[in-house]
């Protein structure tokens, strides 16, 4: 009876029927045509996203290398070389950012934000690190974005972009780093500054740690002002920032404490470079 039939429910029959029905689907029906266009639209969107992810990775790598380079900076003669080399590297990063800006023309930046955010944060970290070494201050987000306004370099570039042949003005592209990406980049910067503090003590630079301590404290104050009102990622980085600040403050403490155990000019002997030694002797 029907019980027997029920057992065969999952047999060949439904599948055979299905194959037959699928052959009956008209490949150029309105529905199929619109799905073909959906395919194209989705593929285009995904491809662009992937291109941006690749650019973001390149930006991250080159920014990280710039940071490593800047760690090698000391006030020794090759310091200026290092600064110049870092500028060359950062220009290369900015060229990649220009490509990002070009990809994003006519697009809503927020649709692709997750693709490029990590790279931009790393860039902020690198450029603010360089700025601190040069000026002992924090670069502003406006200053960063000023450097991210690009114009077409040469005629070849202009003719390759739009078809507007009457346009005599250079094409400009710009990328605005969002306040959140800026904050996250600065938060990461504090980690590098902490490393700078420790390594500068090893180099005999006993002024930098105290400068850094004060600088980091200001940044920390800024972040506590934001507190928990920012996005989750900011709060997470605030925790790490607190630890970095503590490490720097402990280093300063150690210098201060050991400084009183060793006579000042001996301390200079132990820590300083030749030039600082001469200054100390003149002071005495």
């Amino acid at each position: 009876g029907s019980g027997g039939f029920r057992k065969r429910k999952h047999d060949n029959f439904p599948h055979g029927q299905r194959r037959e029905e699928k052959e009956n689907v008209n490949p150029s029906s309105a529905l199929m045509t619109s799905f073909k266009s959906f395919q194209l639209e989705l593929d285009t969107r995904h491809d662009k996203y992937e291109r941006l992810v690749k650019l973001s990775r390149d930006i991250t790598i080159e920014s990280k290398r710039t940071i490593f380079l800047l760690h090698r900076f000391t006030s020794a003669p090759n310091g200026e070389e290092i600064i110049n080399e870092s500028e060359v590297k950062l220009d290369a990063v900015r060229r990649k950012i220009k490509q990002v800006a070009q990809e994003l023309i006519g697009e809503d930046m927020y649709q692709f934000h997750r693709a490029i955010s990590p790279g931009l944060q790393e860039y902020v970290e690198a450029v603010s690190f360089q700025y601190f070494i040069k000026t002992r201050s924090l670069i502003s987000v406006e200053e960063i974005n000023k450097q991210l306004i690009f114009t077409a370099e040469d005629r070849e570039e202009t003719t390759n972009t739009t078809s507007n042949s009457h346009d005599k003005l250079p094409h400009t592209w710009s990328l605005k780093v969002t306040p959140v990406d800026y904050l996250l980049g600065v938060a990461d910067l504090t980690g590098e500054l902490m490393r700078l503090c420790i390594s500068s003590v090893g180099n005999g630079d006993i002024d930098t740690p105290f400068e850094l301590s004060q600088f980091l404290r200001q940044i920390y104050d800024g972040f506590t002002f934001i507190g928990n009102t920012g996005p989750y990622e900011v709060s997470k980085k605030l925790y790490t920032l607190k630890q970095s600040l503590a490490k720097v403050e402990n280093a300063c403490y150690t210098l201060k404490v050991r400084g009183s155990e060793i006579p000042k000019h001996m301390l200079a002997d132990v820590f300083s470079t030749k030039t600082e030694l001469i200054d100390q002797e003149e002071g005495l």
């Binding site: 439904p14 073909k36 959906f38 989705l42 649709q111 934000h113």
Partner: protein, 176 residues
Amino acid sequence: VPKKCQKAREHFGTVRTQLESLKTKFPTDQYYRFHEHWRFVLQRLVFLAAFVVFLESETLVTREAVAEILGIEADRERGFHLDIEDYLSGVLTLASELARLAVNSVTAGDYSRPLRISTFINELDSGFRLLNLKNDSLRKRYDGLKYDVKKIEEVVYDLSIRGLNKEAAGGAGGEK
């Protein structure tokens, strides 16, 4: 059925007014910054619009038609728009609802509707097979489509082995 569809269309008027108001709450070029806020609602609305249209004409509502029903744009360039992935998500929800409708149609004695639903679903499935999806929420929802297809197949199979589909093609075919 036609009367219910008419009533449903009237409800969309209220929806249109509210979407109009939503449009004004944020800068127009930052749609994707706040997209998550209304994403679920839009997907639901797409499903509802698609359902009404299917009951009226047994065709798939187009993106443009949904946009019109909701009083929004179809393209991003023109303002507050319907994202393609939200449209597709809504359509997939329709598939699940149609599987349910097929089952209940049989229970109500309508033996022809499931057959028409089956044709529609198979075409929809073929359409979705063309898409290259990433492993996101849309992909997960698409994975559910095959279960809807299977369920409707089973309904059709049940009808055909009992000869009920022939009865439906013959004449009466159930009233709604």
